[in-house]
C-alpha cells in the first residue's frame, strides 16, 4: 500500500522509517523495540492509533453491507443473506491470515516478515508467524484484512436469493485468499502495476480497483453463470421489479457504509502524520453527497418521485468512484466524480437489466464494478499534482492516464476471468443454484430452517407485480382512491 501510494515522497514517510527499523531487527512482538520515548516513537504510536481506528471503522462496513443487501431482498431470503454476510468475513479473516496476506504483501518488504516475493506474487508472512509476529506487521494486517473482507462480501448481494450457501462459503475463502490477494499484490504489494513506466505507475489510493472493481466484476461473472431469479425476466426478456423488503435497512446500511468509508479512504494513508487525511475525508464526503444528489434529482425529474433506494446506490457509487482518486484531487473534482458516478450507476443498472439481461438484486455490479473502473480512470483525469506526484489530464499530463487505463483493463480481465473460472468450477462440482422449490419457498427455510421474522404476518409480493409497458408509463400514477 505504502510504496505504491506515495513513493515520490517516501523520504517524509513514516513507513519507510519503520521499514528500515523492522528489516534490520526481525519481528518485534511486544513493540518495545519499535516504540521509543521520543518523537520517532510517538509518531509510530500516533499512526498505529490512526490506522487501527480506521480499520475498526472499515470492519463496521460489514454491518452496512449486510443491512443494505438484506433490505433489498425479499423476506424469505433475509436470514440467508445475513448468514452470508456474516460468514464471509469470518472465513475471509482466517483465509487472509493463513494465505492471502502472504500472497499479497510477501516481497513488499514493507514490514518484518514480508521479505519474499516477486513482482507477480508474494510468498511470505503465512499465518502471521515467524518474523511477521511483529507489532507493525500486525497493525498493517489488521487494516488489510478488513479490506479483503469487503471485496468478498460484494458478491453476496449480486448472487442473492438463489446461490447455494455452500458454494458461497467456498467462493468466499478463495476470493479473499487468492483472487483479491494476487491482484492486490500487483497494485499495493509492490507488483508490476505499481511500477508501470507511465506517470508514477498505476495508482489506486484506497481501492476503487483492488476492492470494488474486483468484487463487482467477479459478481458479474457469477451472475452470468448463475442465471436470474425466477420471475425476474419475462418471456420477452423484459425485466420485472422485485422490490426489497425493508427500505429502512437500505438507508441505514448506506449510512453505516458511508461512516465506514471515513476509515476506508483517510485511513489508507496509514498515517495521521500525513496531513492530507483531511483533504481525503472532505473529498470522500463530497463525492458521496454528489452521487446521491444527482440520482435524487434525476429520478425526480423523470418520475416526479424520489427513489431513495436508488439514491442510496448513487451515494455508494460516488464513494466507490472517489476511492482511488480521493488523495490526489481538489474538492471540485470530488463533486464532479460523484456526479458522474451517479449517472454510471443509474445507467449501469439499466444496462445490466435491459442489455446484458443479468439479475443483480442489489446493483453490486454497477455500484462496485463499473464505478470501480471509473475511479481508476478518474485518477488519470483529475489528479492535480499536489500529492504523491500524481498528475492527470487536468494539469496537462497524459502519462498517468495510460497507467490507469492499463490498470483498469487488467482488473477487468483478471476479476471477470478468474471469477468466471471459479464459478464455472463450482457449478460443475458443488453446484451453484438451489432447487427451484427452495428458491420459491425461500432460502431461509431451505438453508437455515428458520425465517427472519417468524411472528410477523408476511405476504408474498412477487405475485402481485405487473411490469409497466414502456409506453403506458405516463398515466396512472394515482394513489389509492383517486379515480383513474
Amino acid at each position: 500500500m505504502k510504496m505504491t501510494k506515495y513513493p515520490t515522497i517516501a523520504a517524509s514517510s513514516f513507513l519507510l522509517l519503520l521499514l528500515l527499523a523492522t528489516i534490520a531487527m526481525a519481528g518485534d512482538p511486544s513493540g518495545s523495540a519499535t516504540y521509543t520515548d521520543d518523537v520517532a516513537g510517538l509518531k509510530i504510536a500516533t499512526n498505529f492509533a490512526w490506522t487501527l481506528v480506521a480499520a475498526f471503522l472499515v470492519f463496521f462496513m460489514q454491518a452496512g453491507f449486510a443491512l443494505l443487501g438484506a433490505g433489498a431482498l425479499r423476506v424469505k431470503n433475509t436470514v440467508n443473506y445475513f448468514a452470508k454476510s456474516y460468514m464471509d468475513f469470518s472465513i475471509g479473516a482466517l483465509a487472509y491470515w493463513a494465505v492471502g496476506f502472504a500472497l499479497m504483501f510477501g516481497g513488499s518488504k514493507l514490514f518484518a516478515g514480508l521479505e519474499d516475493g516477486s513482482s507477480i506474487i508474494g510468498w511470505s508472512g503465512w499465518f502471521l508467524s515467524g518474523d511477521a509476529y511483529d507489532v507493525s506487521t500486525m497493525m498493517f494486517w489488521m487494516f488489510q484484512v478488513v479490506f479483503a473482507a469487503t471485496a468478498a462480501t460484494i458478491v453476496a448481494g449480486a448472487c442473492a436469493e438463489r446461490l447455494k450457501l455452500q458454494a458461497y462459503l467456498i467462493y468466499s475463502g478463495i476470493v479473499t485468499a487468492i483472487i483479491y490477494s494476487i491482484y492486490g499484490h500487483w497494485v499495493w504489494g509492490g507488483g508490476w502495476l505499481s511500477t508501470l513506466p507511465y506517470g508514477v505507475g498505476a495508482r489506486d489510493f484506497a481501492g476503487s480497483g483492488v476492492v470494488h472493481a474486483v468484487g463487482g466484476l467477479v459478481s458479474l461473472a457469477a451472475i452470468m453463470l448463475l442465471g436470474p431469479r425466477i420471475g425476474k425476466f419475462n418471456k420477452d426478456g423484459t425485466p420485472n421489479a422485485i422490490p426489497g423488503h425493508d427500505v429502512g435497512y437500505i438507508v441505514l446500511g448506506t449510512f453505516v457504509l458511508f461512516f465506514g468509508w471515513f476509515g476506508f479512504n483517510p485511513g489508507s494513508t496509514l498515517a495521521a502524520t500525513d496531513l492530507r487525511i483531511s483533504v481525503i475525508a472532505v473529498n470522500t464526503f463530497l463525492a458521496g453527497a454528489a452521487g446521491a444528489v444527482l440520482v435524487c434529482y434525476w429520478t425526480f425529474l423523470k418520475t416526479k418521485k424520489v427513489d431513495i433506494a436508488l439514491t442510496c446506490n448513487g451515494a455508494l457509487a460516488g464513494l466507490v468512484g472517489v476511492t482511488a482518486p480521493c488523495a490526489y484531487i481538489p474538492t471540485w473534482a470530488a463533486v464532479v466524480i460523484g456526479l458522474i458516478s451517479g449517472l454510471i450507476v443509474m445507467y449501469g443498472i439499466k444496462f445490466n437489466e435491459w442489455v446484458l439481461k443479468v439479475d443483480d438484486p442489489v446493483g453490486a455490479v454497477a455500484v462496485h464494478g463499473y464505478n470501480g473502473l471509473w475511479g481508476l480512470l478518474a485518477v488519470g483525469i483529475f489528479a492535480d499534482g499536489t500529492y504523491g506526484g500524481v498528475s492527470g489530464l487536468i494539469v496537462g499530463n497524459t502519462g498517468q492516464m495510460t497507467a490507469q487505463l492499463i490498470d483498469a483493463a487488467t482488473v477487468a480481465v483478471w476479476a471477470f476471468g478468474t471469477g468466471y473460472i471459479l464459478f464455472a468450477l463450482l457449478k460443475h462440482t458443488v453446484g451453484l443454484r438451489v432447487s427451484k422449490e427452495e428458491e420459491l419457498t425461500g432460502l431461509d427455510m431451505g438453508e437455515h430452517g428458520y425465517s427472519a421474522y417468524p411472528e410477523f404476518v408476511i405476504q408474498e409480493q412477487h405475485g402481485d407485480i405487473i411490469m409497466m409497458e414502456p409506453d403506458s408509463r405516463a398515466n396512472d400514477h394515482s394513489p389509492d382512491g383517486v379515480r383513474t
Binding site: 425485466p239 420485472n240 421489479a241 422485485i242 422490490p243 426489497g244 429520478t299 418520475t303 418521485k305 427513489d307 433506494a309 436508488l310 446506490n313 443509474m346 443498472i349 439499466k350 437489466e353 446493483g363 404476518v457 405476504q459 409480493q461 405475485g463 402481485d464 407485480i465 405487473i466 411490469m467 409497466m468 408509463r473 396512472d476 400514477h477 394515482s478 394513489p479 389509492d480 382512491g481 383517486v482 379515480r483 383513474t484
Partner: protein, 112 residues
C-alpha cells in the same frame, strides 16, 4: 342472523366504525386483506423501474347482526365507506346459523 362482510378502503375504517358505534353496533371484527376489483392497481417504483401492483390493501369488516338489522347496518356502512371513486369496495351478506358467546354460553339473539 347475517354476517355482513364489507371490504373497504383502509382510510375509511375509522369512519365506518364510528358510524356503527353511534348506531349501537359496537361489536365487529376487522381483517387486513388484499383485493382486486375494477380498480386497476397503483403504480410503484423500484430502483428506477415502474411497475403495477394489482392487489391493493383493503380492510374487511365483519359484523353479525339479527336479520331485521341487516338493511340498516348495510346502509350505515355504505354511506360511511363511500367516496365515489373506483376502489370503494363491496359488501357481501352471508347467512349465519348460530352464534354463541363463549363467556356465557348464550346463543343467537342474546349473543349479539
Amino acid at each position: 342472523m347475517k354476517m355482513i362482510q364489507a371490504i373497504i378502503r383502509p382510510s375509511k375504517v375509522e369512519e365506518v366504525k364510528n358510524v356503527l358505534d353511534q348506531a349501537g353496533y359496537v361489536s365487529l371484527t376487522s381483517i387486513e386483506v388484499k383485493g382486486r376489483g375494477r380498480q386497476k392497481g397503483i403504480t410503484q417504483i423500484w430502483r428506477g423501474e415502474e411497475y403495477k401492483v394489482d392487489m391493493l390493501p383493503k380492510v374487511k369488516v365483519e359484523i353479525v347482526v339479527p336479520d331485521e338489522k341487516e338493511n340498516e347496518a348495510i346502509e350505515l356502512i355504505r354511506k360511511a365507506a363511500y367516496t365515489g371513486n373506483i376502489g370503494d369496495g363491496k359488501i357481501f351478506v352471508l347467512p349465519v346459523e348460530k352464534t354463541i358467546r363463549i363467556r356465557t354460553g348464550e346463543t343467537d339473539g342474546k349473543a349479539l
